[in-house]
C-alpha cells in the first residue's frame, strides 16, 4: 500500500467507481486504502451508480461477499465522517467519467473486470486523468487513460464460440439417476421441474439446488468452457441461478450443472396483460410493479459490476415470487470475458445486431443498455412491448427499425397505443421516465441500467410516499376498463363481405356448433376478472386531501408474514449517508419496503369500518323488507 500512498500524493482528488472496491477483495486492503485517502485528505468523487451498485450487492446477499459489503459500508461511513465524499448528479457512468477524465490532477480508481471498465474503454476519450486499475486484488497504476487502455487489452471473441461440435456419447438421464460434481459429490435427480429446448431441469437431493441436464448436442465447447469460467467466478448471489457446480455422468462425461433453485412464476407469464397480472398478483398496486422492475435491475447492476453481460435479456429468463424476489434463470448463455452470448431474441435486441451471428462478436455494454430499456418498459407496462402499436407497419421488426414509438409526452398519438389500458399506464409515469422512454425509443438514445434504477427509484418513492394526486395512478392498470367484456354487436342487414361470411362461419355440424357455444361460454367465464382490490372506491371524509389507499390484502402465501423476507435487512446501510453529499443524490435510506404489506393493523381505517357497518345494516334492512313483503 505504500506504493498507492506515494502515488496518491500527486493528485488533488480521487474518482472511485464502485467496481474498484469489489475487486479489492480483501477488506483489510480496502480499509488501508481508505485510511490513506483520509490521511492525505483527498476528496473522493462518486456517481449515483455507486449507490445503485452498492444496493445491488446488498440485495444479492452473496455469502462470499458479506465481508467486502461490510468493509464498503464502513469505508463510505468513514469518508462521510471525514467530509471527503462528493456525489455527482449524473447517473450515467459514462457521463460521470466524462466529467472527470479531463482533469489532470485527478485519479480514477476502477475495477478491471467490470462493465464500467468496458464503458471507459468505449468512450475512447483522450483522458488526462490517471488511472488505478484494480484487478482481483492487485492494483496497477497508469499515468493516463490511453496508457491504461493500451496495456489493459480488450477481449476479442474466442474462436471456440463458432464451434458447434459436441461429445459423441448418448446419455440420457431421468429421475432417480445420480450425477457427480467435480469433487465427486453425488447428486440425485429427484423430480423433473421443466423441459426446455436446451435441456431438462431436475430437483435434487441438495436442498435449494436444482440440476440442469442438457439434451444431446447441447454441450458445445463454448458452453462448457463458459460454464467452467462461470463456476470459477463463483457468484453466489441469492437472486441469480448461477452455475454453482458442474455435473458429470459416472463415466466423467459433462452433462450439466447445479444451480440455486428459483421460486415463483416466469415473469413473462405473470407480466402478460391485465388478466395474467390479476390472476398471479391480485393484491398488487403499481408500486409492486415498479419494485419488481427494480428487483430485476438490481440483478443487472450486480452482474455488470462483475463484468457479466446477460445478452439474452427477456422476460421469460427470470422468475418472480413477489416484488422483492426476482430470480435470473437460464443464464448459461451470458457473455463473460471472451465468450459471447450465442443467443438473443429480436424483440429485445438492437436492430443493428439482428443480421449478425451472435457467436461472431462480443456485445458491448451499449447493446445491453438497449435490451434493458425494453425490459424496463415491458415490466412497467405489464408485458407490453414498447413498439407494439395499432395500425402500424407490417411487422414488429419494421417498427423497431423505424423507431416508431407510439407513446408521446404530449399524448398526441394516443390512438396508436395498443388497446387494453396501456395509454393510462403511460399517463401515470413520472415526466422523467416519459422523457427517458421517448428519447430511448424514438431517438435511439441509450441509458444504462443504473440510470433506469435511479429513475425507477424516484418513481417508486413518489408512489410510496403517496405524492401523486390521482388515486387511479396507484393501480396496476389505472382507469382500467375491461374492454373485452363489452358485448359483441351482431351486424344486421347491409351487404355482407366475403370475410364476414367467412367469419360468421358455416359450422361443420350442428353438434360442433353447440359444443363451441358451450366452450365459448366457458371461456367468457374464465376471462371475467376477479374483483380488483385496486378499484375500491375512494373513502370520503379525509380532511387533509391525502387519501390513504386501502392496503392490499396480505399475500396468500403463508411465508409472507411468517418469515420475514431475507431482503428486509437489505437497506439498512446502518449509518445513513450524510456529510457534504448533495442531498438530492443521497437521501437517507428508505425506512421500510412497502409498509402496506406488514402493516395489517391499519388495513381498515375507522371510517372504512363505519362504511362497512352501514353496508351490512343496509343488507339486513333489505332482507328484513323482503321477509315483510312475503
Amino acid at each position: 500500500m505504500a506504493n498507492f500512498a506515494d502515488v496518491l500524493q500527486g493528485f488533488s482528488s480521487l474518482v472511485i467507481d464502485y467496481s474498484a472496491l469489489i475487486e479489492l477483495v480483501d477488506p483489510v486492503v480496502q480499509n488501508s486504502l481508505i485510511t490513506t485517502i483520509i490521511n492525505q485528505n483527498k476528496t473522493v468523487f462518486i456517481s449515483k451508480s455507486f449507490k445503485a451498485f452498492h444496493e445491488s450487492v446488498i440485495r444479492a446477499q452473496s455469502p462470499n461477499e458479506a465481508e467486502v459489503v461490510a468493509a464498503t459500508k464502513d469505508s463510505i461511513h468513514r469518508l462521510v465522517e471525514a467530509k471527503l465524499l462528493r456525489a455527482s448528479k449524473s447517473a450515467s457512468t459514462v457521463d460521470f467519467f466524462l466529467e472527470h477524465l479531463k482533469n489532470e490532477d485527478e485519479c480514477l480508481l476502477i475495477g478491471r473486470n467490470s462493465t464500467s471498465f468496458m464503458r471507459l474503454r468505449n468512450i475512447n476519450a483522450n483522458g488526462l486523468c490517471s488511472v488505478f486499475v484494480v484487478d482481483d486484488g492487485n492494483i496497477r497504476f497508469y499515468p493516463d487513460v490511453n496508457a491504461c487502455m493500451e496495456k489493459e487489452t480488450a477481449y476479442s471473441v474466442n474462436p471456440i464460440a463458432g464451434n458447434a461440435d459436441y461429445i459423441a456419447v448418448d446419455i440420457y438421464f431421468s429421475v432417480g439417476d445420480v450425477l457427480y460434481t467435480d469433487e465427486n459429490e453425488q447428486v440425485r435427480l429427484q423430480s423433473l421441474i421443466s423441459t426446455g429446448a436446451e435441456g431438462l431441469v431436475f430437483n435434487t437431493n441438495m436442498d435449494g439446488f436444482v440440476a440442469k441436464v442438457y439434451h444431446r448436442g447441447g454441450i458445445t465447447p463454448l458452453r462448457w468452457s463458459k460454464l467452467m469460467k462461470m463456476r470459477d467466478l463463483g457468484i453466489q448471489a441469492q437472486n441469480i441461478c448461477w452455475p454453482y457446480k458442474l455435473l458429470f455422468s459416472n463415466s466423467k462425461v459433462p452433462v450439466g450443472y447445479l444451480m440455486r433453485k428459483a421460486e415463483g412464476v416466469t415473469i413473462s407469464r405473470a407480466f402478460d396483460g391485465p388478466d395474467a397480472m390479476n390472476s398471479y398478483f391480485p393484491s398488487w398496486m403499481r408500486l409492486h410493479v415498479v419494485d419488481s422492475a427494480l428487483s430485476f435491475l438490481h440483478i443487472m447492476d450486480y452482474l455488470h459490476l462483475h463484468g457479466v453481460l446477460v445478452g439474452d435479456i427477456q422476460l421469460k429468463n427470470a422468475m418472480i415470487d413477489d416484488e422483492e424476489h426476482v430470480y435470473l434463470i437460464d443464464i448459461d448463455s451470458v457473455q463473460y470475458q471472451d465468450l459471447p452470448c450465442p443467443v438473443g431474441t429480436e424483440e429485445f435486441t438492437r436492430p443493428e445486431l439482428w443480421n449478425k451471428s451472435f457467436v461472431s462478436f462480443l456485445r458491448r455494454p451499449q447493446d445491453e443498455d438497449y435490451s434493458i430499456s425494453i425490459l424496463v418498459f415491458s415490466m412497467l407496462f405489464c408485458g407490453q412491448h414498447p413498439y407494439a402499436q395499432r395500425n402500424g407497419l407490417e411487422t414488429l421488426r419494421d417498427e423497431m427499425e423505424a423507431r416508431s414509438f407510439p407513446y408521446t409526452v404530449d399524448d398526441s398519438q394516443v390512438d396508436r397505443i395498443p388497446i387494453g389500458g396501456y395509454d393510462k399506464i403511460w399517463d401515470a409515469l413520472t415526466p422523467t421516465l416519459k422523457d427517458m422512454f421517448v428519447r430511448a425509443f424514438s431517438k435511439g438514445e441509450l441509458f444504462d441500467s443504473v440510470e433506469w434504477t435511479v429513475a425507477l427509484t424516484a418513481y417508486r418513492d413518489l408512489l410510496e410516499k403517496h405524492e401523486i394526486e390521482d388515486e387511479e395512478y396507484y393501480n396496476v392498470f389505472p382507469y382500467f376498463v375491461d374492454e373485452a367484456e363489452e358485448p359483441v354487436k351482431k351486424k344486421s342487414g347491409g351487404k355482407v363481405s366475403v370475410r364476414e361470411a367467412v367469419m360468421n362461419s358455416n359450422w361443420n355440424t350442428a353438434d360442433n356448433a353447440d359444443l363451441f357455444e358451450k366452450q365459448m361460454g366457458a371461456k367468457e367465464e374464465e376471462h371475467r376478472p376477479q374483483p380488483r382490490i385496486q378499484n375500491t372506491p375512494k373513502m370520503s371524509g379525509s380532511t387533509s386531501g391525502y387519501v390513504p389507499k386501502p392496503k392490499p390484502a396480505p399475500r396468500p402465501t403463508p411465508s409472507a408474514s411468517d418469515n420475514p423476507s431475507p431482503f428486509a435487512a437489505r437497506t439498512p446501510v446502518d449509518k445513513p449517508y450524510g456529510g457534504n453529499i448533495a442531498p438530492s443524490s443521497y437521501s437517507s435510506p428508505r425506512p421500510t419496503q412497502v409498509p402496506q404489506k406488514s402493516d395489517s393493523s391499519s388495513v381498515f381505517s375507522k371510517s372504512k369500518m363505519a362504511a362497512l357497518l352501514l353496508i351490512l345494516l343496509g343488507i339486513a334492512l333489505i332482507i328484513f323488507i323482503f321477509y315483510l313483503t312475503n
Partner: protein, 246 residues
C-alpha cells in the same frame, strides 16, 4: 371504438401481450381420408393442441384456426376460440370431392382478417402459417382454376415473407406437383404416410414453439432435420478444443 375488429370482437383476442403466431390448418376430409387416415389425422391434431397448451410460450401465442375441405369448405375452428381448457372436436370424413383451392383461398381470407384484427388492436404478431394437408388432387367445379388462383395468392405472400407455407401430402395419391407449386421456399412438399401424422404434428408443435421462443430467423421452419447443428466428436477431442482455446 367499434367492437368490430377485422370481423372479430375484442374478446376474441384475449388480453395477453404476447406476440401471436396465427396458424391456419387447411385439412382434407374428402372421401379418401375416411377410416384410418382421418383417425390418424385426428390423433395428430389432438396431440398438437395439447402440446401447444402445455408449452408456456405457445399457449398464449399460437392462434389457431382450422378449415376443412371435402365437398364444401367449412370453418371447423375459427380464430380466437382456442384456450387451455378447450377440447378440439374430432373431424369426420365426408364422402365427397376435394376443393383444395377454395379451401386455401378461404384460409388466406381468414389469416388476412386475423392480421387486420391484430393491427387494429395493437397486438404484435409473427407472419402467419398456412398448413395444407391433403391426400388427393383438386376436385370439383372450377377446381383447377381455383387451385391456380390459390397458388398464385400463396406464392405472392410467401415471396414477400408474409406467409410460411407447410405443403403436406399424405400417402401416394396426393398431387405432389400441385403441392410443390404452393411453396417456392421449400425444396419439395413434406411427404408423410398416414402413420406419420403424429410425427408431423410434433414437428409443427416444436417449430411453433421455437418460433415464439426464439424469434431470430425462420429458416429452421423449412428444415425438418432436428439433429444438433455440429458434429459429434470424441470426449478427448472435445476437451482438447477447450484447452487450446484458453
Amino acid at each position: 371504438m367499434s367492437n368490430d375488429i377485422g370481423g372479430f370482437s375484442k374478446s376474441d383476442f384475449g388480453s395477453s401481450t404476447r406476440r401471436r403466431l396465427p396458424i391456419c390448418f387447411c385439412l382434407d376430409i374428402s372421401g379418401s381420408m375416411a377410416g384410418y387416415p382421418i383417425e390418424q389425422l385426428n390423433d395428430g391434431l389432438q396431440s398438437f393442441f395439447s402440446s401447444i397448451r402445455e408449452n408456456e410460450e405457445t399457449r398464449s401465442s399460437a392462434d389457431i384456426a382450422i378449415i376443412t375441405f371435402g365437398g364444401s369448405v367449412d370453418i371447423f375452428l375459427p380464430f380466437g376460440k382456442t384456450s387451455k381448457e378447450q377440447t378440439i372436436p374430432r373431424l369426420q370424413a365426408t364422402t365427397s370431392l376435394t376443393p383444395i383451392g377454395e379451401g386455401i383461398l378461404t384460409a388466406l381470407e381468414l389469416l388476412d382478417a386475423r392480421k387486420i384484427g391484430y393491427k387494429q388492436m395493437g397486438i404484435k404478431y409473427y407472419q402467419p402459417w398456412l398448413v395444407v394437408i391433403t391426400d388427393g388432387a383438386p376436385q370439383g367445379a372450377n377446381a383447377v382454376e381455383n387451385m391456380n388462383k390459390a397458388i398464385e395468392a400463396v406464392r405472392e405472400l410467401e415471396d414477400n415473407d408474409k406467409l410460411v407455407v407447410f405443403n403436406i401430402g399424405v400417402g401416394n395419391s396426393a398431387d405432389f406437383p400441385m403441392l410443390q407449386k404452393l411453396s417456392g421456399k421449400r425444396d419439395k412438399p413434406i411427404s408423410i404416410s398416414t402413420a406419420q401424422f403424429g410425427k408431423l404434428f410434433a414437428f409443427l408443435g416444436s417449430s411453433s414453439s421455437s418460433v415464439v421462443s426464439n424469434s431470430m430467423g425462420s429458416d429452421a421452419l423449412y428444415n425438418l432435420n432436428q439433429e444438433p447443428e455440429g458434429t459429434s466428436i470424441a470426449m478427448e477431442d472435445f476437451f482438447r478444443t477447450i484447452e487450446e482455446s484458453q
